[in-house]
Symmetry: C2
Subunit: 739 residues, 2 copies
């Protein structure tokens, strides 16, 4: 086989392998024992609650997606069919239908990976709890394998979906060329964003409303421990971990990989043109690059999960997970080298200093992998109890909840510094490396810089499946701990689940840092894809190309203002939704305590199902308003202020969204761990006495933790989705904004 | 006299009149009785504390300003002298010295107005308390007249300073023309920003650290009322009101009027060129416009303060102040009409639809005045207890401090919606109106749009003196209340001071809304001034003019990212400074309670001076780090990424800063008033019982109020200054960033 055939089929092979491996992992997890009946009972209740929520949620989302697809198909059919009437290969193609179909396939793949991943996750929790009765390493393996099902399915279905629709549009419809097809599949990214928006919002509202509500009535008011079976809200809380952290984050990263693949393929078109004109050996390689490199990422992760999740019983479980992460990263470097070498083949032509283009791009990809590692450590610094920020918040708790909050917000704001500087350096470095590759187009413009940032993004995203497996490890172990507590399992098992839960908190925080970093790196690539799309439309319509997005233009400035506002307003709606939903849970749990006095002495069983039901209904109701605002604002700005203003909205909205999400995620994580720091007995008063649980300092830290919950698990992650939704929505609807 | 002479001398006359009127008001206030000895004693202690702080603070600032002036003079002397070597009128002029001198005059005028205004403010408080023993209207008059001294001095000294240095450079130095002089005086704005940065930071840290510290130990821990003499931190708290709200906000608005006058004069140069070329009757009018319209604003305010601050004893004091505000606004409309008619005289030439240019600009100015009014009402809606947002926070207090905080943050984020939309409309409307005026330059570009936004800014700022008088009314009445409580004055007097204090809270919030709105409107004008300056330098150096600030450029994007980060990081430092300083106050007051047991039964007097001293030292120490970050970041970005990136930093930094300040100011104000709402007995539980003071809901609301304090009085107002500092620093140092 020649290189072209291999690079075309490789994404398919890698994707299928990953799906098969996910099925193997799922079977392996499901075969394991579910522990004593008490554990199985709780597990079953959680599973039912989660299934009920997901069923209702995904039904709602599916309806919204079908409506969305019809509208998008109609709009694109009307405004764009005429544009392509003079393009021989596209004239007469059902552009509207193709976009709508891509949208539906994107939405469908995202939902499918979410549903399967979560159904394994809610089955892995009880098995992890059971394994914890025997062995730490076994428990880590069960939880990590359960999590990896999500990780592999998300990345593989995203890859297979993009690959399939790209191949279909390129091969079977009309005379579409490989250079035109990337523009036709942007609907896939929008479909993925659309599902992610509602999955993350609904799941995020559910999980944190249940958590805040259950904690406030249980821990603070009734004085009973977390996950105590007397608390009517506790099952909803355990359900929430799955629907928020697992299904929500999965949809978020599904969207990232899909949108950023497509964006990079669009940028590849410019490189393809240069390569074709210059007669380089493999022009199509530039377009296939994102798909192939992602395939290597999957292979790297399969090897890491299969062979590197091992360790000793007395080892820090985080070390076991880190071993797998470093293995994935090291194998990704090899994959990156192979991909750049074969797909970015410039023949005899070289870049700066006589170094071939592929070497420059290889290093750009390394910048991406390095950024990923940097964010892993940055997040740890800001959210782990061993470092200054968390200690500072714990200290401030001594003077009450107000100083705890002030200190936590100061820490949250502070985290933007190293985030912005790291992203800035990564962008400038990968852009500079790309510029050295010598990709100069027919107008004499060097397009390598932007392609360099795209390669960096692709490099960073190679480890997505592994990161997502670690992320889903979080809710599984969190649930396992809850199940152990709830079923009053032996203390040795609880000790192990507590250790895993602490690790899970770290991995969940890491994933958010990773998602943020990839969204920022990708901003530039999606922005450039938007400009390429606009210029393609303008070429078809005979309009002026968009050379610059001028901030000195009053429309662009106002759009930037609106973008920054949107980020705050959307977060406000998301946070308020949690507050509202939590208050209705609090009222219900209080009512049960009051009207069912037997609950406190275990003679009466609380009505868990009622709380689950209230939370489900409230969360689905509350996700609508922020969802509409997110979708409507970019469209309104595009219609009122035009396509250049939309570009400003996209860029400044990304910056504002990424940094506010950083504030919310890291602030929330630091508050959480400041509480854990105090609970672990690390805080001492002036006389050296430990200020642990039941002290005023601990009560103050609980307030901070509660405030941080909707920040880090609802608004922050929803902002990741918002940022990418703005990118995909403007990419799809660009023809509408050009008048 | 001809129009030219009148418009040249009018700012001088209006400025001098305002200073004389301020002196008259000061004499009038000082003549009034100071009440019984108990009041005078407290008043004297506050005065001494404030004087001591201001003396040390302004000494520090003066030293920093002199160092700054030397550096700026040297840098500009080195990089710009060569640029102007070929400009006949400027060749050989000591450009560096002129910029340094302008910087020092700006810094000096700002400090002078701050020192005098505050020294009257700390003398008005005790006289207001005394007047409250007799009459509400008299107390309002004393407080308002005391506040107006600050208001008039700030605006008049800013106007006179800009006028004097402009006239000096235009008349006495070399052959500088009226079109060149505006570029030479930008140092004045930078000097004003520089002082404002440290005045606002130092004052803001002092006031809120004292407030938070005193409240947490007094109200929350010891359970004694606010302003109780047994609390050792209470005097520091009363001192803080003056140094933060009065001196700090005065310096903030001094800077606004100065920087925006200069920016508008720079834009006027383009209009001057058009007018000269077209042979319009009064080309210089376009440059003098900002100064003349500001003079009319001062006259309008003099009339309003002299004749409209009256009312009935049983009237809502806010009505009395509003009467004056509406009178100022109405008279400003007249002044605006006169100024536009005479100074924007285009002879026979007309704009769109045959309507003269001055009419279009008159309406642009009206847009500015209307924006000011809109912000007055928006701020009231979000921070007054009669409306939904504050009620929502009060309701959320029922479920504890965590939900109170979550709800307050949601409200704070929400306030960005109407803020951004209002500013967006104002910018688009004034820009559109300006475009209709027909100001087309020799390259065929319509420069009227940007000039329209400048006129709107000028219109808005016409009422600055009155707004600032209302603002200073706040700390004076706050202090009067404290003095009445502290000196155990008769309850009728305390009742009146309580009513005035509540109004003062509203007026302080209004001023912040006003400062935000003016900063946003001005962003566009200062940005355009920066571009004009860059293009002037490029013309001198034979470089390419800056046509567009392209967000798609990686340097501009990274600068925008850094700008947004700067806003958060700077706020983090400011908030943390308050937390740190407050903790040291808490430790000290606790120590006094512990070691001096007689304090609680009034047999021992707390050591107020020691707390004042601790606060002073800590606040001055803590203002250094955020100050350095604010000054260093734009310079670093300029040196590393160049002048186009700096333009991105300026624009996106303004947007991010304005909206984060909105969040902090309004969130803080809403928390404050949610607490007051509960204290006033408006919150009821499900059974209809009032949840007032001493309930858990109230304790939760106190936490929110405390968290909001450093937001609304330290970080928020400091962000206003930061935003304008970025504008003036880049304007002055632009030659350094062009390579």
């Amino acid at each position: 086989m020649d290189t072209e055939t291999i690079q075309t089929l490789f994404p398919l092979v890698a994707g299928v392998l990953a799906v098969l491996f996910a099925l193997y992992l799922a079977r392996d997890v499901l075969r394991r024992d579910k522990g004593p009946q008490a554990m199985q009972d709780v597990g079953a209740v959680i599973r039912e609650g989660a299934d009920a929520f997901v069923k209702r949620q995904y039904t709602t989302i599916a309806v919204l997606a079908v409506v969305g697809a019809v509208i998008i198909g109609a709009v694109i059919g009307i405004v764009e069919t005429e544009d392509v009437a003079d393009v021989p290969s596209l004239a007469g193609s059902p552009i509207g239908l193709m976009t709508a179909l891509a949208f539906l396939v994107g939405a469908g793949c995202s939902m499918l990976s979410g549903i399967i991943g979560m159904s394994i996750s809610v089955r892995s929790n009880v098995r992890t709890a059971s394994a914890a009765r025997r062995s730490l390493v076994e428990a880590v393996q069960v939880a990590m394998r359960g999590g990896a099902v999500s990780g592999f399915l998300v990345v593989a279905l995203s890859l297979l979906g993009v690959w399939a629709i790209f191949m279909a549009y390129q091969t079977f419809i009309g005379d579409v060329t490989v250079a035109e097809a990337p523009f036709l599949i942007v609907g896939f990214g929008f479909g993925a964003s659309f599902v992610a928006l509602f999955a993350q919002l609904g799941g995020g509202i559910y999980t944190k409303a249940a958590d805040v509500g259950a904690d406030l009535v249980g821990k603070v008011e009734a004085g009973i421990p977390e996950d105590d079976p007397r608390n009517a809200g506790v099952i909803a809380d355990l359900v929430g971990d799955n629907v928020g952290d697992c299904a929500g984050r999965g949809a978020d990263l599904f969207e990232s990989t899909a949108a950023e693949n497509i964006g990079a393929m669009i940028l590849g078109v410019a490189a393809f043109a240069i390569a074709s004109a210059a007669g380089w050996p493999n022009p199509e390689g530039w377009i296939f690059f994102p798909l192939v490199v992602r395939g290597f990422g999957l292979l790297a992760t399969i090897i890491a999960v299969a062979f590197f999740i091992r360790g000793r019983e007395d080892e820090d479980p985080m070390n076991i997970l880190n071993r797998g992460y470093w293995a994935t990263t090291a194998l990704s470097v090899v994959g990156l080298a192979i991909t750049t070498f074969f797909l970015m083949n410039t023949g005899d032509a070289t870049g700066s200093n006589g170094i071939p283009a592929w070497v420059w791009f290889f290093f750009a990809g390394i910048v991406g992998l390095a950024t990923s590692i940097a964010f892993v450590y940055i997040t740890q610094y800001y959210t782990a109890g061993t470092f200054r920020p968390v200690r500072e918040i714990a200290e401030a708790s001594k003077t009450g909840p107000a100083t705890n909050i002030i200190s936590g917000i100061a820490v949250g704001y502070e985290t933007t510094l190293v985030t912005a500087v790291t992203i800035g350096i990564a962008l400038l470095a990968s852009h500079w490396l790309g510029e050295q590759a010598g990709l100069v187009n027919e107008e004499g413009r060097n397009v390598g810089g932007i392609f360099g940032t795209a390669v960096a993004t692709m490099g960073m995203l190679m480890t997505t499946a592994y990161i997502l497996a670690m992320d889903t490890f979080g809710p599984i172990t969190d649930n396992a701990g809850g199940i152990a507590e709830f079923s009053r399992a032996e203390s040795s098992a609880r000790e192990i689940t507590d250790r895993l839960d602490a690790v899970g908190n770290t991995t969940k925080a890491l994933t958010k840092g990773y998602a943020i970093a990839s969204a920022s790196l990708a901003a530039f690539l999606l922005f450039s894809a938007y400009i390429d799309k606009v210029n393609l439309i303008q070429r078809n319509r005979g309009g002026e190309p968009l050379d610059a997005v001028n901030l000195a233009d009053v429309g662009v400035f106002v759009a930037a203002l609106i973008a920054t506002m949107l980020v705050y307003f959307f977060s406000s709606l998301a946070i308020r939704a949690v507050g509202k939903t939590a208050q209705s849970i609090i009222v219900e749990v209080r009512r049960q305590f009051r009207e069912m006095p037997g609950i406190m002495d275990y003679t009466q069983k609380p009505d868990y199902a009622r709380v689950v039901d209230i939370t489900t209904r409230a969360a689905l109701r509350e996700m609508v308003a922020p969802g509409i605002v997110a979708v409507a604002t970019p469209i309104a700005v595009g219609l009122l202020l035009g396509y250049e203003a939309v570009a400003g909205l996209l860029m400044v909205g990304t910056i504002a969204g990424v940094l506010l999400a950083t504030v919310l995620n890291n602030g929330g994580g630091a508050w959480d761990n400041a509480k854990k720091f105090i609970e672990a007995g690390h805080l001492k008063d002036a006389a050296g006495n430990v200020l642990g649980k039941k002290t005023d300092a601990h009560a103050a830290a609980v307030v901070g933790d509660t405030v941080g919950d909707p920040f880090k698990d609802t608004a922050g992650p929803s902002l990741h989705v918002l940022v990418k939704l703005i990118a995909t929505i403007t990419l799809v609807l660009a023809p509408l904004f050009i008048r």
